[in-house]
């Protein structure tokens, strides 16, 4: 999959602003970014559900403008909002969807059984969808997207709103699919999810790529190895003033209302220096840098919408 200068406009509004990327077969690629960054618009173009406004896009070597239907036949899509039929049974949802791909009934039934097993829904096969839990519906949506045995799986916020058990089950399933060679493109708001699932990811902001690379690359490029968090409970503490005192101890410094974040490669020695300056934080924490630090650095802490 190759995109060059990929752009999506809605009237005057530019949702995706000339992005470039290449995704190889069997790769798991993540798109991160705040709401409105253009993730879903990008996904919809890749899924051939939304026409490209500008630039070029090739999916499986084909052009979505001409071969949209053919490409969609080889892609599985898990949309952000479930589009299941609530009045049909779990099994019938899969049967109908399989027919959209013009698969023979016998093949669909076989695959449906395997997929229900795979997503642990076999016992609910003949129940209606409506009363199922959010996690079950999400799993069914994933089972449905796999009915055509796709080469590419597109997942738009696959685990938003799920409990930890359901998330881990989904991650496990997605990992197994990856091992079977299914290319995955995932948007998510969860940094741990991106770290778990993605070989490579792009951080989007304002329709553009702010950064792209493997999770560990991004951390080493945009953050330090460790983060020292100093927490001050006293409400009169002015962290901005304190920040000027510890300036120079860390590569980068961030002052939050009750905390100081010191980005440093060696948290212990930085902490020792902080103590030497006579600062006495209520509590301290030394932790490894995460994608979340990268994300917040690239897209800012303020709310966007």
């Amino acid at each position: 999959m190759v995109a060059r200068g990929l752009t999506k406009r809605f009237g005057d509004f530019v949702a995706v602003d000339g992005i470039d990327f290449e995704i190889g077969r069997g790769e798991s690629y993540g798109l991160l970014g705040p709401n409105g960054a253009g993730k879903t618009s990008t996904m919809r173009m890749i899924a051939c559900m939304s026409p490209v406004s500008d630039g070029t896009l090739r999916v499986l070597g084909m052009d979505p403008a001409h071969d949209g239907s053919k490409i969609r036949g080889r892609i599985g899509i898990v949309p952000q909002e479930d589009t299941l039929d609530l009045e049909l049974t779990v099994l019938d949802n899969l049967m109908v969807y399989g027919r959209y791909f013009d698969l023979p009934r016998r093949v669909i039934r076989e695959r449906a059984e395997q997929l229900l097993e795979f997503t642990q829904l076999t016992e609910r096969a003949h129940d209606k969808v409506d009363p199922l839990s959010g996690g079950m519906k999400r799993r069914l949506t994933i089972a449905r997207s796999l009915i055509s045995d796709p080469e590419i799986l597109i997942l738009d916020e696959p685990t938003t709103g799920l409990d930890p058990q359901a998330r881990h089950l989904l991650w496990d399933r997605l990992y197994r699919l990856k091992q079977q060679g299914v290319t995955q493109i995932i948007t998510t708001h969860y940094m741990d999810e991106a770290e778990q699932l993605c070989d490579r990811l792009a951080v989007m902001d304002g329709g553009k790529f702010a950064a792209e690379g493997a999770p560990s690359d991004l951390i080493s490029r945009y953050s330090t190895r460790e983060v020292l968090e100093l927490r001050f409970r006293d409400p009169d503490t002015d962290t901005a003033v304190l920040a000027t005192r510890v300036e120079g101890l860390a590569d980068r410094l961030e002052a939050l209302p009750d905390r100081l974040l010191l980005y440093t490669d060696d948290g212990e020695s930085t902490l020792a220096e902080v103590h030497r300056l006579g600062l006495s934080p209520e509590s301290t924490l030394i932790r490894r840098s995460t994608l979340e630090d990268v994300f917040l650095r690239l897209t800012g802490r303020s709310l966007v919408d």
Binding site: M49, G68, T83, L84, D85, D92, M95, Y97
Partner: protein
């Protein structure tokens, strides 16, 4: 279309009952009840014979209207079924044709049942009456296609009650179902004649009573066909505008 059939599998019980019950109720109430007061012969036949084919066409109109309003809105906004379909190899045209094909099938079932019950009431007077089934389907589609076009352009369902209030219900009452439109005030007659239901009713009545003239049949048929095709073209446009963004 298969989708709608699947969904129907679950809900058919309710609608089969109404498919049988409505014609029985209408024919019994209007024909036998009201009809017993109407000793006049209407258009040369008994009152029940006169209204039965009209009711068939009106029912087709209502089914066509019902199935192309809320179900279309639901497939776009509430259940987003159309979007699920468009994530597969299906195209916008496939989705539209599939939905209309399902409506046609539903019309076929309802009009067939209606005709069978009319026969049981002894109101069928010609072998040509069988053709009232496809005519009923066409009448329904002549409403369903343009209404689907309208529904796909709506942001919410408030427009639908307008269609019922100022469209379907007046047509039901004044398009020649219950009395010949010649009885309407002169200025209303051309309006009644311009409505699609008038043509559906005239065709069905002509076929069931066996007095249909070929030229008139051609005119009625062309009207309904043109309306269906125009509706389809418009629907294609509103569907595309709504579903492909």
């Amino acid at each position: 279309m298969r989708y709608w059939m699947y969904q129907y599998k679950r809900t058919w019980r309710g609608s089969i009952t109404t498919s049988f019950l409505y014609p029985v109720l209408y024919l019994a109430a209007m024909g036998l009840g009201l009809g017993s007061l109407v000793k006049h012969r209407v258009g040369g036949v008994a009152f029940l014979d006169f209204i039965a084919p009209g009711l068939l066409a009106s029912t087709a109109m209502q089914i066509g209207g019902n199935e192309s309003m809320y179900p279309v809105m639901a497939a776009i906004k509430w259940l987003r079924t159309y979007f699920a379909m468009l994530a597969t190899p299906l195209t916008v045209i496939d989705v539209l044709v599939g939905h209309l094909a399902w409506i046609a099938l539903r019309l076929l079932m309802v009009t067939s049942i209606y005709l069978a019950i009319m026969a049981a009431f002894g109101t069928v007077h010609s072998a040509l009456a069988v053709l009232a089934i496809p005519v009923g389907v066409l009448t329904g589609l002549a409403f369903a296609a343009p209404i689907a076009a309208f529904a796909a352009a709506q942001q919410n369902d408030t427009g639908f009650s307008t269609i019922y209030r100022f469209g379907l219900i007046p047509l039901f009452l004044f398009s020649g179902t219950f009395f010949p439109i010649g009885l309407l005030p002169g200025w209303m007659q051309p309006i009644a004649q311009a409505t699609p239901l008038y043509h559906g009713v005239a065709l069905c009545r002509g076929l069931v009573l066996g007095h249909l003239r070929l030229a008139a049949a051609g005119a009625h048929l062309s009207y309904l066909l043109v309306l269906t095709v125009v509706g389809f073209v418009l629907a294609q446009r509103t569907y595309r505008r709504r579903l492909v963004t």
